[in-house]
Amino acid sequence: MAGGGCVTLRGAQIRDLLDSKHDVLFDCDGVIWNGETAVTGAPEVVSLLKQRGKRVFFVTNNCTRPRENYVQKFSRLGFTDVAEEEIFSSAYCSAAYLRDVARLQGKVYVIGCGGVMKELRDAGVPVAEEEDAEPGASIYTCPLDPDVKAVLVGYDENFTFMKLAKACCYLRSPECLFLATDPDPWHPLTGGRVTPGSGSLTAALETASSRKATVIGKPSRFMFECISSQFGLDPARSLMIGDRLETDVLFGSNCGLTTVLTLTGVSTLQEALAYRDSQEPQQKHCAPDYVMESVADFLQALEE
C-alpha cells in the first residue's frame, strides 16, 4: 500500500477488514499498553483475534527487554497466552540478523543495554567484553579487540564518550558491519515526558564514522522478514497496527501491509492527514490506510 487515505474505521468496515486478514501485527508502546498500564480492551482484543483463528505478532522497536521479560509484562498486564515466539523486538531481530543474515564470524561491539546483550547471548552471537577502564585509559588509547567484526548501537543508559570513540575506531575498517537496533530519536514515557532514544546515539556514531548504519527496527523491512522467515506471512493478508506514523505506518507501507493508526500513543490524526496531503512520496508513505481511536474499537466486531 503506497500511502493510505486515513479512513476512520467504523462498524461493519472493521469486521470486513478483519475478515480479509489472517495475521495481525501490533506495535506495543502506545497501542496495547502505555508504560505499565494496558490500553483498555487490548487484552480482550488479542484473545478474541486468536479465538477467531488469526495469528497475532508483536513488533516493537523497544530494545530494552529480552523476550522473556516481555512475556512477563504481557502476563502482568492481563494478556493471557502470549508466547515468546510471537514477540519480535528490535533486540531479538538484531541478534537474528547478525546470526542468520550477516552470519557474523567474529564478535560484535555493542553500545546497548541489558536487553540487547541477553538476546545476543541467547542467539549465540559473541559479544566483545567491555574491559574495565584502566587508570591511564584515555580516548586516545582505547584497547581494541581484533576479533570485532561488527558494531551494534542501541539505546544505552551507560553511553559514554569512550564507547563512542571505541565504536568509531572499529568502524574505520570497511569490513566491520554497522548496525542500529532502531531509529527512534526519543521514547515517550507516561505523562508526556520523553527520554533520548537509540536514534540519537546512532546519529552520534554515524557522524563520527561518516558511515550510515543498517537499521534493523521499524520502518526498515527486516523485522517483517524475520517474522516471515519463521511463520510464512503473506503481506496482502497482514495488518499492521501502530501509533507512530514515521515508524509503524511507514514500516507497514514498506512491507506492503494494510496499516492502521491508533490514537492512543504518539501520533495524531492531524499529523496523519498532513502526511496524506503531502506532495512528497516518502511522506505519503507515512499516511495510514485507516485510523481508529484505540484497538478497543475492534471489540464490537470481534464480539459478534
Partner: protein, 308 residues
C-alpha cells in the same frame, strides 16, 4: 570571493608579496596550520612574528572549544609565537560572547562542555550548570523527571569527554521547553589528528542532542560568520583587507567566502588541492564557496616574501 579560474592558484613568492600588500590583517586557523597537536609547524612562528614586524595584525580563529583564550596564549607562547590572549578567538570564548550579545541570555546555561567553556562563560557573567562527570542512576522514570534548574534558559554543547546518556537526557529535558535556546560550538566531526588517531568531535555530540530534541542548534564556530564578526567588531576590521588562512575547505575557506575575505589554503592539514579543484568544477553554489583564492604547501613558504 574566488574568481572563476581553470585551476586553484598556487601562491608563488611574487603573488605572496602582492597578497600581503593587499591585506592589513591575517586570521589563522590553528590545528593543521600553525601547529599539529603540540608541535608547531616548522617555520610557522617565524611567519607570524614576521607578519607582525611588517605591521600586519594577526588573529587566531579556532573551532576548538577545550581551551580558554589565556590557555591558547600560553600554548602559543610556549611554541615561540608572539601572541596575546586578546588575539585568540576560540569557540569557548566566542560561544560565551554569542550567548551574551546575540542570544541576550538572561539566566543560566546547561553546559555540555569543558572547564574552559565554563571559565569563559563565568568571565562574561553567565552561570553554567552541568560541567563534569554525570553518571546514570535510577530508572527511566527518574530520568524523565530529573530535577531541572528553573533558571536555565539555554543549552550549550561543546566538546565534552564526559558526555553520557544522562547529559544527553538532561539537555533533552531542558530543550523540551521551546523558549530554551540551543547553541553549539561547532560541527566538526573529528578532533584534529593527535597521535595518529581520529577522535569523535563536537559535531557528534551535537548531532545526538539535535536528534533527541528534534531541534537544530545555532552554531557559533566556522563556517558561521559569527567568528569573524567577533574579531571584526572588537578590532574594526575591513573584510576586503583581511586574509583567512586555513587547512579545511568546509570551515576555514567557507568562512572566508561567507565574509568576503581573501582565502589561503595550506596543505599541512585536512584538505587537498584535488578537493579544492573538484569544488571549483562543481555546479553547486555551496561548493563554490569552498574554493580558496590561493593554496600553499605550508605557511612557512610565505617567509621569503616577508623577509624580502
Amino acid at each position: 570571493m574566488a574568481a572563476s579560474k581553470c585551476n586553484v592558484t598556487r601562491l608563488t613568492e611574487a603573488l605572496s608579496r602582492q597578497l600581503l600588500d593587499s591585506v592589513d590583517s591575517v586570521l589563522f586557523d590553528c590545528d593543521g596550520v600553525i601547529w599539529r597537536g603540540d608541535q608547531a609547524i616548522p617555520g610557522a612562528s617565524e611567519v607570524i612574528n614576521s607578519l607582525k614586524k611588517n605591521g600586519k595584525r594577526v588573529f587566531f580563529v579556532t573551532n576548538n572549544s577545550t581551551k580558554t583564550r589565556q590557555m591558547y596564549a600560553d600554548k602559543l607562547g610556549k611554541l615561540g609565537f608572539d601572541a596575546s590572549a586578546d588575539e585568540v578567538f576560540g569557540t569557548a570564548y566566542c560561544s560565551a560572547v554569542y550567548l551574551k550579545n546575540v542570544c541576550k541570555l538572561d539566566g543560566k546555561v546547561y553546559l555540555i562542555g569543558s572547564n574552559a567553556m565554563r571559565q569563559e562563560l563565568e568571565d562574561v557573567g553567565i552561570r553554567p550548570v552541568g560541567v563534569g562527570p554525570d553518571p546514570i542512576s535510577g530508572g527511566q522514570k527518574d530520568w524523565a523527571n530529573v530535577p531541572l534548574d528553573n533558571e536555565v534558559r539555554a543549552v550549550l554543547v561543546g566538546f565534552d569527554e564526559h558526555f553520557s546518556y544522562m547529559k544527553l537526557n538532561r539537555a533533552l529535558q531542558y530543550l523540551c521547553y521551546p523558549d530554551c535556546q540551543f547553541v553549539g560550538t561547532n560541527t566538526d566531526t573529528r578532533l584534529p589528528l593527535e597521535g595518529g588517531k581520529a577522535v569523535p568531535g563536537t559535531g557528534c555530540l551535537l548531532k545526538a542532542v539535535e536528534t533527541a530534541a528534534q531541534r537544530q542548534a545555532q552554531v557559533v564556530g566556522k563556517p558561521s560568520s559569527f567568528m569573524f564578526e567577533c574579531v571584526a567588531s572588537q578590532f574594526g576590521l575591513d573584510p576586503e583587507r583581511c586574509l583567512m588562512v586555513g587547512d579545511r575547505l568546509d570551515t576555514d575557506i567557507m568562512l572566508g567566502s561567507n565574509c568576503g575575505l581573501k582565502t589561503l589554503l595550506t596543505l599541512t592539514g585536512v584538505s587537498t588541492v584535488a578537493e579544492a579543484e573538484a569544488n571549483q568544477k562543481s555546479e553547486c553554489p555551496q561548493r563554490q564557496k569552498m574554493v580558496p583564492d590561493y593554496y600553499i604547501e605550508s605557511i612557512a613558504d610565505i617567509l621569503p616574501a616577508l623577509q624580502a
